[in-house]
Amino acid sequence: MFVYTREAHPGEHVDAHDTFDHKLTNARLLRDEVGIRRPILVDDLDGAGHLAYGGLPNMTWVIGRGGRILYKADWTSAANIEAFVRRHRSARQQRPSGGALSPYMTEQIEFRHVDRDLFYAHLRRNGPRAYDEFRRAEQIWASRNP
C-alpha cells in the first residue's frame, strides 16, 4: 500500500500541508491524477509514521506477516521489490524435505534510472518555485561535492 507523507517538493500548485484536510486533498490527487490504485493511507500531519521509518521521500519497506521487517530500501524500485517478494515467497514455499529454512540478511547497493527531464516536468507541475528550489538544491549539493 502507499503511505502518504509530507510534500517532498512543494510548490504554488501543490503546497506543503498546513492542515490534515489539506494533506487528504493532496493524497486524493495522487489517486485521481496519477492513478495510484493501491490503498492510499495518510499519515498524521506531523508525519509520526513517516519519521518512525526514516522520513525519506520515497522509501519502501516490506513487512512480513506477524510484523517482522523483511526488506528496506531508501528509494523505491518496483522491479527490485517484486523480485524480492517473489524470491522470498518461493523460498518459504519450497521447504527442503528433511531440512530446515534458515534466514540470513544482506545489504546491497542497487541502481535506479533517473529521467531528469521528466522529473523537472513534474516539479513544474507542482509550481514554478518547486522547480527553482530543486535547481538551487542541485547547486548546494554540487558545492558540497566539488
Binding site: R6, D18, F20, I40, L45, G47
Partner: protein
C-alpha cells in the same frame, strides 16, 4: 529552520539546513530487517477509516511505499 520543520515549505532551505542529508545518512542504521515493525495511525483516503497500520501485517505480508504527489 523557521515554521514547521516536518512540512517544510522550501526544499532548498530543507537541503541547506541539512535535513535531507541527515535523514539519508541515518537510514542505514534506522530500523533493521529482522526487527519488529512499528505501527502508527493512518487514514484511508477512499473511505476515511482510521486504523493502526500494524493491523494489515497481522494477517499478511505488506509492501509499504512512502511518498507524496510531489
Amino acid at each position: 529552520m523557521p515554521g514547521d520543520p516536518y512540512n517544510y515549505r522550501r526544499f532548498d532551505e530543507y537541503v541547506e539546513h541539512g535535513g535531507e542529508s541527515e535523514e539519508f545518512a541515518a537510514f542505514a542504521d534506522h530500523l533493521h530487517v529482522g526487527q519488529r515493525a512499528w505501527g502508527f495511525e493512518v487514514t484511508r483516503v477512499d473511505d476515511g477509516e482510521r486504523f493502526d497500520i500494524a493491523d494489515l501485517w497481522r494477517r499478511r505480508d505488506v509492501v509499504m511505499e512512502f511518498g507524496s504527489f510531489t
